[in-house]
Symmetry: C2
Subunit: 122 residues, 2 copies
DNA sequence: TCGTCACGATTACGTCTGTAGTCAATAGGG
DNA sequence: CCCTATTGACTACAGACGTAATCGTGACGA
């Protein structure tokens, strides 16, 4: 039942996942510079995330400190699954195969994944 | 420079990637039933995809037949890359690792991917 | 020939998103 | 004690999206 996180909201979440709790101002300072957001924009996004129950805030003097209510790993799992379901019929193999074909996989990737799979077996 | 494909538009694209060219009516018939779209909705989406230059149409008597201008593989590659960049720092290994941890990978997946990687190493 | 139907084009409209300005309260400096 | 700077709340607003009704035109059966 967790509500959708938009792209802009996601940028805010990454900041909070990296470190929390933070004040609105601290979040604004840590958001990637490319975004060039005004402090107000960040506050709006924090407000929307609050309304969606994706973050919480605790009073600290005359301001708030915000912290995530959902774990990054859960979010990431959901997004990964959605992509696999939508584009690869829910299977991981076609995803890996696709990326391999596209030369988006390096020799090092191959070695790392092989090691990973080896650990998983047994 | 290819424009964004929204979620609803993507459902239409899947139909056309599966078979094309198709008339608007044929597309409507083939769209997954869960969507429960009216024929008009499908036509609107076809119109938007046309405007975005993601599909083309050829006149056929008093109607059109629509066909994709972008390959599914290209779209899929773009979406996969976006996900990896956004959530896994652009690396494939963490994606696989994440799914493995989450038990979203089966023994068969492991075997298949191992075979795949073996082929790649030539 | 006339009404109806099949199509694409146009228009509609509420919601979500990205981005930000404005307002009200309050705490701190002078 | 008053002015100002900070901070969260509220408001704004254009563009994308999901979903669809309506309009205009040409084809086709009666």
């Amino acid at each position: 039942m967790t509500e959708r996180i938009s792209d802009a909201e996601h940028a805010v979440m990454e900041v909070l996942w990296d470190k929390s709790p933070l004040t609105a101002q601290e979040v604004a300072e840590r958001v990637p510079a490319e975004r060039e957001w005004s402090a107000n924009t960040v506050k709006t996004l924090l407000g929307r995330l609050l309304a969606k129950n994706i973050i919480a805030h605790e009073e600290e003097g005359r301001r708030y400190r915000y912290r995530p209510l959902v774990a990054r790993a859960d979010y990431v799992a959901g997004e990964s699954r959605k992509l696999m379901d939508r584009l690869f019929g829910g299977r991981l193999t076609p995803l890996v195969a696709h990326l391999a074909e596209r030369d988006q996989i390096t020799d090092q990737d191959i070695a790392e994944i092989e090691a990973l799979l080896k650990d998983l077996k047994s």
